[in-house]
Symmetry: D2
Subunit: 277 residues, 4 copies
């Protein structure tokens, strides 16, 4: 007879804690590239995410087709993560981070000092500049920001950013929007092994299997935008990514089986056949 799973077999997972703030969801999403506001709303809801990143410059400038983007989400339930997308230098990023803080206040999040720091001088590959990022991070930490820097998966850079007071590191899995998946797994693994702050894998994830794989490495959270917003059915993909993020986290906590060179029978082969009478 089947009984309920004994309580001692359930896994307790600590909440994701960033700058003292706790979150249950380990999937963050964005607001870019959705086909419609309705798609955005449905996807955010389906993802179960508690943190949504917004490009401050987009909102400031009312970029075409994005009017009303900020009004589309319920900021009493979603934590705003302003980002500095579009900034090519540390100076620009610092200015936009300050604007982001204003935006948070206007949305009713008085104590929200988070900023996703992006310093991206390169228009083709959209890869972050380690030098500008470090310089901006140092200044923003001094100004009291909780800085979440977007970086190439360089373990030395990650360590340095942690040392200057960043509250997470956000290494990219592969170039943003490329959907190439985990192309820097060896370095991301080292970053995770060394980090004392949460590691959020950001950019490049294209599928739930890749999302799960990043979490199985021990990442603390993921940020996924394009793979959801541009999927054939965005809300369904949002749900798929949420499930995969949880699946990967659970598997990390549960402990996977070792990889073996050869087969190992699920069923013993020693039994002898007896004829059922």
């Amino acid at each position: 007879m089947v009984t309920a799973p004994p309580p001692e077999l359930l896994i307790e997972d600590a909440p994701l804690t960033i700058a003292g703030r706790q979150f249950r969801s380990r999937l963050m999403t964005g607001t870019g590239k959705y086909r419609s506001i309705a798609d955005l709303q449905a996807s955010v809801a389906a993802s179960g995410c508690e943190i949504v990143t917004v490009a401050v410059r987009r909102v400031q400038t009312n970029a075409p087709g994005h009017e009303g983007l900020v009004d589309a989400l319920d900021w009493s339930k979603i934590w705003l993560l302003p980002n500095t997308a579009g900034c090519q230098t540390a100076e620009e990023a610092i200015r936009v981070a300050r604007l982001g803080r204003e935006m948070a206040k206007l949305l009713g999040q008085e104590d929200n000092n988070f900023v996703k720091l992006e310093v991206i001088p390169d228009p083709k590959y959209l890869l972050p500049d380690p030098f500008g990022t470090l310089a901006a991070a140092e200044q923003l930490v001094k100004e009291g920001f909780a800085v979440l820097p977007y970086i190439n998966a360089d373990p030395l850079l990650a360590k340095r950013l942690e040392e200057v007071g960043c509250v997470t590191v956000m290494p990219l899995a592969s170039p943003i929007g490329s959907g190439q998946g985990l192309r820097n797994a060896a370095n991301i693994q080292i970053i995770i092994d060394q980090a004392n702050v949460p590691v959020v894998v950001d950019a490049g994830i294209g599928t739930p299997s890749e999302a799960a794989a990043a979490m199985e490495l021990g990442a603390d959270a993921l940020l996924i935008n394009t793979a959801i917003a541009q999927a054939g059915n965005a809300p369904a993909m949002a749900k798929a990514m949420a499930l995969a993020t949880t699946a990967g986290r659970l598997a990390y906590l549960a402990g996977r089986i070792p990889v073996k060179a050869y087969a190992s029978a699920s069923s013993p082969t020693t039994g002898t056949i007896t004829t059922a009478s």
Copy 2:
């Protein structure tokens, strides 16, 4: 203001249908290698699976440590999939399949004619014999069995088995129990493209990311045993595998983004910064 996801964005998925019988879960599990009966029970419950495979020879012989295995599950809710593990020839497999049908009746499943056909002469790699499998499948189909053959990922063999009346094909991802993951993806993709019966990827899956990846290819279902039973925490891994199976299925239905060689910004970089007054 957030509204509920519009109904038109939800994805309808047909049930998994095998031999006319419908199942909602696309994850099947096994009963081998668990550390305890309690672990087995909790894992089956956590997996949400509706089909559990049982090695008929094990039950017949009361293999050490597995007494009571059959009594541990609620067969009014779980569909039995008897398997012929331990059979090296077509003849043995046919005999064990018949015993499996008896077992199903004893457990109250009068109309259960399913059999997972395994013909495995090789004790080291535990790979199935295509010739013995085909021969046994032909005979078992004649005897009215619903045959689910376990096979190497050979598209020609899969087609042939479908032609002789098998109700699914079950290609292996990598050697059983190895946890090597999807090592035959190119062939499994072809099998899926060609199949008119459900394709169940069986053996070798080690992690939720690999489970999701197999479903993203378009597999109809998965069978996972060792990766759950031998995980550090089996019920937690069972839950993780269930989530990943659903995630991969949803992603397949939703449609993933294309892989791009280069980056593509989530946020437009054309905005100009305006100072918040």
Copy 3:
């Protein structure tokens, strides 16, 4: 002062021996898909190959653009490997194999009983039929052929073909002409581990790195056609493939370093710096 490498450090490699015949080159090539006869000639020369496979049906039928193909090569130096490309059944393949033997005689190779056996009913993926291949192989062995069967990478099938007297097995790396590289490495490794005849990896190799990887697994030889014939510069690619085949073989014999999870310094870090006076 540099001295010559001590003799004891050189590696002796046995010749490739198939059906008692010895070859120094471990790269075989084909004659299909070249842009010109000159390209074919230059490529065969650059590859250093000693075995060239020819589609018997093509020659029999003087397929458009291939007149003179047989006259283009010096059959006093190149060993002909007639193949049964285009045959969908065992019966067709057996007939074409016999025609191949006639062709070898006409080209002055009286004692050439080799045949590359291809039984391919599937026009889309061009994958070989295990059942037709085994049936044809059994008959051709009886007729005194040295049979080199082209197969999907199924270890059980490979073993069975060896048991009926085939002189090699030729598993495919990925679908023919696809250039997808080694997509069946796990199975090919098992085939190599079990084989008592040479294992020739055939079809799907696209680059020298993939050629080397197949040889590093322990394959005895490679057959590469499309990746050479359709390369931007076919003779240069032929040379590249020849070098990579030798490189992979040498590495297999030399013994690679183990893969380590972490770094290991090439240079000790214990030294202290002394100032040059």
Copy 4:
């Protein structure tokens, strides 16, 4: 009848040019971790390399077992590449670089201003520090060095180092000595696409297939030490690496075939069988 390859089919490759100096070999080796001086000598000879890197601190300190290392090679034929292995800061690396220049003079290379710059504060993963590396590079360029910096595969860092006057960039494939192969291929590809100086892939290559793969990406050269020095047979592996480096380069120049989703016959299947009379 076979004729020699027409001259127009041969590929001309420019020499590798670093800081105005030309080299024919695209494989560089090191002197660390060999089992014996004889092994080192035979391996350098077998590799055909023209550039050998030496850890200046090792030579300065006569590290155990390495006495006579410098005398073991013929510096009238091999170009010395002094490296700063063991330096944790920019200051240390600058001092050791100057010592390296002295060493080159003592070995008769008066005009050798090359230095392989390594700034590695991390003793576990031995990954280079981007900030210390950039600082040291700027200073050493001012002092007239030809600087070849060893870096994590960060395209922005690579670009910055090129801008300050480095003569190559040397991204790592995976952690040094790990033999993990190309784990940063996506980033290395971007570095190659953007670079105006030679890109030398350094560290992590374990096999000839991985060496060839790096060259097929378009890398200009490789530096391989551990995978040769610690191979079962070091000189044989040195030869294998040399062949693979050339093979990968040739393939890059020749142009590989595209990867196709499905098969494409080498031999046409349209012929009809005619019976040989």
